[in-house]
Subunit: 211 residues, 2 copies
């Protein structure tokens, strides 16, 4: 199996517990960890390539063990996840998966999901995986893979253009999604579906992991 | 102490584990439960006044125990939480708190948060509490209570007008928030703060429970 990402970033939210994100952690060559995720990685036998943050959430023993790979970034304007994303960009990685960016405080979850769209121009691919599903930012028309019956939700960011869909059970035609709930709980009909975006549309697609 | 709500609705997300939502469950006279929350309520010695949903998530023993208060609502277009909100509205309750509406699948979380604004016109007050904070929908200028240092995040819904703030550490002046992350991680300076909305602005305010 080809590993679909060249770099995983682990944020300070809920550490993943399901099989797929844990498999990917073991298969992906580079792990960049926000400081709050280092202990959870260590407990699973995983060593980060780089550790980013202000180091207030890492035990002293691990701080000493990993002294050669700690990068303290002082910038109150951006969170540790964003610092890690910039670090990955500067290091030249192109296919990024973010784990641990949801769960716990919901305002962090919302902020982290929306930041995917800000960071998308820096990479060939940047996605976010939780125990419940995969988040994909789209700034242009795309065809995505799916399982028949897979639950799909679409969230528009403001200012949003119009979107249309093909291959979803409840088709959307040239529509602006003006509230978060309007594009939720759709369903893939086959192995792929297509979302067409007008020029100003920017969306996040959520593909649920369960059926 | 006056109980601030006359009705609590418990949705199918993460059941609360922290003191404040559990206290409110014990103090509030009416509990409307989505079917997936009935077992968790029962385990804590709490009996719902009404149970809403398609009853695929309630054990048979509890379905029998509570046969007198089960309301099966067949409508594929709206989720169980929305069905419960409409039930509370029809029953005449005016001050609603929603619990268990976040956690687990993030697309449900996002949908449920945004539905607060849809439902706000039906009640004098409708808010959502999680283990991490309180969500308040605002469609007009308001002054909210706070603790000095309390973390506050503001999320605009599309189409958004402009907002301004008083009493927050990083003031916002006549600004459209065009991405979810832009209004996150602000902080209350004192016991209240004020958010001023232009006519078309519609926002969700998140007041974090921790300091």
């Amino acid at each position: 199996m080809t590993v679909p990402y060249d770099c995983i970033i682990v944020a300070n939210g809920s550490f993943p517990t399901t099989a797929r994100p844990l498999e990917l952690l073991h298969q992906t060559p580079i792990i960049i960890a926000c400081d709050g995720a280092v202990q959870a990685l260590y407990d699973r036998g995983l060593a980060p390539t780089a550790i980013i943050g202000d180091m207030d959430s890492i035990p002293l023993s691990l701080r000493e063990l990993y002294a050669d790979r700690i990068h303290i970034v002082e910038n109150q304007e951006i969170n540790d996840l964003t610092k890690s994303v910039f670090y990955a960009h500067e290091a030249g990685y192109k296919h990024i998966l973010i784990l641990g960016a949801t769960g716990l405080r919901e305002d962090h979850t919302l902020g982290n999901i929306s930041l995917l769209l800000e960071h998308a121009p820096l990479f060939d691919r940047i996605e976010m995986l939780s125990d419940y599903g995969l988040f994909i930012p789209l700034t242009k028309t795309a065809t995505l893979t799916s399982r028949p019956g897979q639950q799909i939700s679409i969230f528009s960011m403001y200012p949003c253009g119009e979107i249309s869909t093909e291959g979803l059970r409840w088709p959307i035609h040239n529509r602006k999604l003006t509230a978060w709930w309007q594009g939720t709980l759709n369903e893939a009909l086959g192995d792929t579906f297509t979302i067409t975006l007008t020029e100003t549309a920017r969306i996040i697609v959520f593909c649920a992991s369960g059926k």
